[in-house]
């Protein structure tokens, strides 16, 4: 099983509902966030194009944060989700510096925190909170090892990209372009 998320950049309007849903669902402390929305403008005026992306931890297959963690607090669970065990994290912040996506932060209680794909919901067969609330239904979550899953079919049909592929991290967040 390999959980992944696909985000349709043609449908995302950048409303930030995903950000708010995550903060409420996961009790993210004020002033911190596990996901965020980026507006990327490319080209030269007047030939400009705009892409809106909801970003978060990429749950990389080749996760540098997991490799560099000295205590195994950062680890990959079944389904390929990268999680942090709060009771094993010493707060050395090596994982934060190793992440090319700047997706991690120090929780006010001292341990390192990040997106978990709402693993507590996924274990119950539900979608992550951000996917559930998206008003434009631009986010898809599922198992890419299952060829019949919606996400697998989308990745076969549509063009997609990942962020900073040259970093070699093999991200599992796909942006449909």
């Amino acid at each position: 099983m390999r959980y992944a998320m696909a985000i349709d950049t043609k449908k995302c309007v950048g409303c930030s509902d995903c950000v708010v849903a995550c903060q409420v669902e996961n009790n993210v402390p004020i002033g911190h966030c596990r996901d965020w929305v980026v507006e990327a403008t490319s080209g030269t005026y007047p030939d400009l194009s705009l892409e809106i992306r909801s970003e978060r931890c990429n749950h990389c297959t080749n996760a540098p944060c997991v490799r560099c963690c000295p205590t195994e607090a950062s680890h990959i669970v079944d389904g390929g989700i990268v999680v942090v065990d709060h009771d094993e994290c010493i707060g050395c912040k090596a994982c934060i510096t190793s992440c090319p996506y700047d997706a991690r932060f120090v929780h006010p209680e001292g341990y390192v925190d990040k997106c978990t794909f709402c693993i507590h919901r996924v274990e119950k067969g539900e979608n992550p909170a951000c996917v559930s609330v998206c008003p434009t239904k631009c986010m898809y979550f599922g198992d890419t090892d299952d060829p019949n899953s919606e996400i697998s079919q989308l990745l076969r049909k549509r063009k997609w990209k990942t962020l900073i592929p040259e970093a070699g991290t093999e991200p599992n967040i796909y942006y449909l372009t």
């Binding site: 950048g14 930030s16 950000v19 002033g31 911190h32 966030c33 996901d35 965020w36 929305v37 980026v38 507006e39 990327a40 403008t41 490319s42 080209g43 030269t44 809106i52 540098p64 490799r67 560099c68 963690c69 000295p70 205590t71 195994e72 607090a73 009771d87 094993e88 994290c89 010493i90 707060g91 050395c92 912040k93 090596a94 934060i96 510096t97 190793s98 992440c99 090319p100 700047d102 991690r104 932060f105 120090v106 209680e109 001292g110 341990y111 390192v112 900073i164 040259e166 970093a167 070699g168």
Partner: protein, 312 residues
């Protein structure tokens, strides 16, 4: 051109707008670890080649400071942890892929050995020293017979610790400034240079040891200059991320601090002052020594800061 703006708000402390998660504690730890490694490498190497009586400051006196400097380095590392009470988790497993795990285990084995190494040299460096209990005296005398074995163990662990200070950073592919194989040898050389400066500060006036370590320091500074040039050349001949990262030192915000604090004050000027000293022109050795030690700290500080700012 691509302009990217976070529109939802993202102000994670220490992460945004630029990464600044490792302030002074980590560079200070890396500097002290490099200095201690240098002192121990020199002391154990001279012992192993049978020159321990020829260089009393380097072999016997300077390493006495090593365990205390190492404890300060460990304290700085502890200060940096944000989940301090869980630090013991470092020693619940060995992570081969994590340089920090290597470093933690090296510290664990090296620290008690540095205390033993300092203890067996205490009485020769300070003849009036008296151990408070007889059993301490007997233990130290007993351990002296294992001097060679100890020297080999400490030499190996010190080389590991010194290289670790550079590899810790170079293992992070996400930060182009750090992702250079030169950092390990550069930090090792800088640690040795700092150690020679520390030894010079303790050498009596006009001693042969002082002249020798002036020469060693000069060679070490030469190697350091060579490695710094290769570091910059490596960035410029690498991918776009590293070329852009090199701009931080070549016109960007760390240009002045890098070239003045590390290259000029920390490397070239002390090298020039060493040349003057070796040509018997009177130069107080405290000046190049302090410059080298300050430059050694700034080498780590500036590279840690610049590395955090650099990104893909």
């Amino acid at each position: 051109m691509i302009e990217q703006i976070i529109t939802s708000g993202k102000h994670n402390i220490g992460i945004d707008p630029v990464l600044s998660i490792w302030p002074w504690e980590v560079p200070a730890d890396l500097f002290l670890a490099g200095l201690v490694s240098g002192l121990l490498i020199i002391s154990t190497f001279l012992t192993l080649i049978g020159k321990r009586h020829d260089y009393p400051i380097a072999v016997k006196k300077a390493p006495i400071f090593a365990p205390f400097l190492l404890l300060i380095a460990l304290f700085f590392l502890f200060l940096d942890l944000s989940h301090k009470m869980y630090f013991w988790q470092l020693y619940t497993n060995i992570r081969w892929t994590s340089p920090m795990s290597w470093g933690a285990w090296t510290y664990l084995f090296l620290t008690p050995l540095t205390f033993i190494w300092a203890a067996i040299h205490l009485k020769t460096a300070y003849p009036n020293w008296k151990w408070p209990y007889e059993w301490m005296e007997n233990t130290i005398e007993y351990l002296k017979q294992y001097r060679t074995g100890l020297a080999w163990a400490i030499l190996g662990l010190s080389l590991t610790l010194s290289m670790y200070t550079g590899i810790l950073l170079s293992a992070f592919n996400a930060r182009p400034i750090w992702n250079s194989a030169i950092l390990g040898p550069l930090f090792l050389t800088s640690g040795l240079t700092s150690a020679t400066a520390f030894i010079l500060l303790n050498c009596p006036k006009g001693s042969n040891e002082k002249k020798l370590f002036c020469t060693v320091s000069l060679i070490s500074l030469g190697v350091q200059t060579f490695l710094i040039i290769h570091l910059i050349m490596g960035y410029l001949s690498s991918d776009l991320a590293q070329v852009k990262a090199a701009d931080l030192f070549l016109g960007g915000e760390f240009t002045t601090s890098f070239w003045i604090m590390i290259v000029a004050l920390g490397t070239l000027i002390p090298a020039y002052l060493h040349v003057l000293y070796l040509k018997k022109i009177k130069v107080p050795v405290i000046i190049p020594s302090i410059l080298i030690l300050t430059g050694g700290f700034f080498l780590r500080y500036i590279l840690v800061e610049a590395g955090q700012i650099s990104h893909w």
